[in-house]
């Protein structure tokens, strides 16, 4: 726990009086927090929020099998495909932004600036709406129903997060000591070889925590499939809530908890990757700093 240091920075090892005061502060804050929770719980209880049947009904074995589990799988499917597309686009655009070829650089910059400033929900929904505008629809490609919805959800997730990953990778390239590329040129590698063999592997490794942190956000963003009625968790929870009219809020809370578990598990992977990286890389401090800078700035998503 490195946090330990931070919380003791602001006060000395406490004397008897200080200990007494901090004890009082603990008790008071504890009472206030418990009081707030109790107040909320009492309010919920008076509306029979905790009534057992309201929780058991939407968690009926049949509902779990026919709706919850497919919903989780559909969420994970959108997450996996969206991540894949985002990473591919991120690498291509990220290296496009530092290309020596001006048009490539300009196009990549426009891409990033454009897609970074639009809400993801707008991107998903617009691409879903303009489908069919060019004389063919996703249907003609054999994707109909949920496959069509999945296509546009994945497209939105990938295009938007691709722009953000591109920025993360660009920051990683900028932070790499220039001697790395120079050494590559010195042994006679071409520009392409230097990027591919020297820069990219190191950048990918240094930026892994930041990239993974962005993927946690992508996972949460799959909930936007709701607006195009893709059967992910949130949409399914709404359907279940509608089927069991008394359990509407309960179904939503269950969905939120499932999201929490998924995202929390994934963020633990981020912490693990960060720790491994700190042990392994030659320049752990620099990487950690970039990561801190990038995650505090960029990874603030929906």
């Amino acid at each position: 726990m490195t946090r330990q240091n931070e919380s003791t920075v602001l006060f000395d090892a406490l004397g008897p009086k200080g200990r007494q005061r901090s004890l009082i502060a603990s008790v008071v804050s504890g009472v206030v927090i418990v009081g707030l929770l109790a107040w909320a719980a009492a309010g919920l209880a008076s509306n029979n929020f905790f009534e057992a049947s309201r929780w058991i009904n939407p968690l009926d074995a049949l509902v779990v099998e026919t709706t919850w589990i497919p919903a989780i799988l559909d969420t994970l499917l959108a997450f996996a495909l969206g991540s894949l597309l985002a990473i591919v686009l991120g690498v291509v655009i990220g290296f496009g932004r530092i290309s020596r070829f001006l048009p490539t650089r300009a196009a990549s910059t426009v891409y990033v600036q454009f897609f970074r400033s639009l809400p993801l929900v707008l991107l998903i929904w617009i691409s879903f709406t303009i489908d069919g505008y060019f004389g063919f629809t996703a249907d003609t490609l054999g994707w109909s129903g949920d496959a069509r919805r999945l296509t546009f959800l994945v497209l939105g997730l990938g295009i938007y997060n691709g722009a953000i990953l591109a920025e993360i990778l660009r920051a990683g390239v900028a932070a790499l000591p220039p001697g790395q590329a120079m050494a590559g040129y010195a042994v006679g590698l071409s520009h392409g070889q230097v990027q591919r063999l020297i820069v990219l592997p190191q950048v990918l490794r240094n930026m892994l925590p930041a990239v993974l942190a962005q993927l946690v956000i992508l996972l949460k963003d799959t909930s936007l499939g709701y607006v195009i009625t893709y059967p992910e968790l949130l949409h399914s929870a709404n359907i279940i809530g509608r089927d069991y009219g008394n359990s509407f809020l309960q179904a939503l809370v269950i969905a939120a908890l499932i999201y929490f578990v998924l995202a929390y598990a994934l963020s633990k992977v981020v912490v693990y990757a960060e720790r491994r990286l700190r042990k392994k890389t030659a320049a752990p401090k620099a990487a950690a700093q970039i990561e801190a800078g990038v995650t505090s700035g960029q990874s603030v998503g929906i």
Partner: protein, 218 residues
């Protein structure tokens, strides 16, 4: 392409106005919550630290849309009767507040240890050293990330459409699905895109201005 241009521009302008108001109002809420959270995080009272931690983890790992839905249907149950606007602002504010808290905390972590030690050694209390020494410096260090939070909030504010606030995205949707189809799809798409780009552009300019001023004072 831009059929009924004046009607469309008027509607989009109204949507943009709502987006800006929602963004700024919920950002004010988020800043207040973030400041409370960071004080709780560094306070000597353990329950306060636990509560701040639980709050942060909760809101960081649940999608905003789920937060908004739960609040929309849950707030009335605990006796808070409010409008769509209320739910949207509270939801956005509480969600963003967790991120503001984390950003402020990383700002406090970036203050050299000697600052806090110096504050203590001249006899400042916990509250004084926080208010007069640590937080002013921490705030300056986190202006850039707080700025990107504000710009991210512009985009996140689109989600209040789910609880029935007609902001820019909802407005463009309404225009495209207009029952008399008075508006061209591409005209609206271009209009809404330009509106978002403009809002982001102006806000990032203001953020950079704030950054420069803060750096200057330092």
């Amino acid at each position: 392409m831009f059929d009924n241009f004046d009607l469309m521009a008027e509607a989009l302008l109204e949507g943009a106005r709502v987006t800006v108001v929602v963004t700024l109002a919920s950002y004010a809420i988020a800043l207040a919550i973030g400041m409370v959270l960071v004080v709780m995080h560094v306070s000597p009272a353990a329950p306060a630290r636990w509560a701040a931690n639980a709050y942060t983890q909760l809101f960081r790992n649940v999608p905003l849309l789920a937060v908004l839905f739960v609040m929309y249907f849950g707030l009335p149950s605990i006796g808070i009767e409010t409008t769509s606007w209320g739910v949207g602002l509270i939801g956005l504010g509480m969600y963003t507040g967790a991120f503001v808290g984390e950003t402020l905390r990383s700002g406090i972590n970036s203050i050299p240890l000697g600052q806090a030690e110096a504050a203590r050694s001249i006899g400042l209390t916990f509250g004084q050293s926080l208010a007069n020494v640590i937080l002013p410096q921490a705030f300056r260090a986190v202006i850039p990330p707080l700025g990107s939070l504000l710009i991210a909030l512009v985009k996140n504010s689109a989600l209040v459409l789910a609880v029935g606030v007609t902001e820019l995205t909802a407005m463009s949707r309404r225009l495209i699905e207009d029952d008399q189809s008075r508006f061209d799809l591409w005209g609206v798409v271009i209009g809404v895109t330009v509106s978002y780009l403009l809002i982001a552009f102006v806000l990032s300019y203001l953020v950079r201005l704030a950054e420069r001023r803060a750096a200057f004072v330092r």
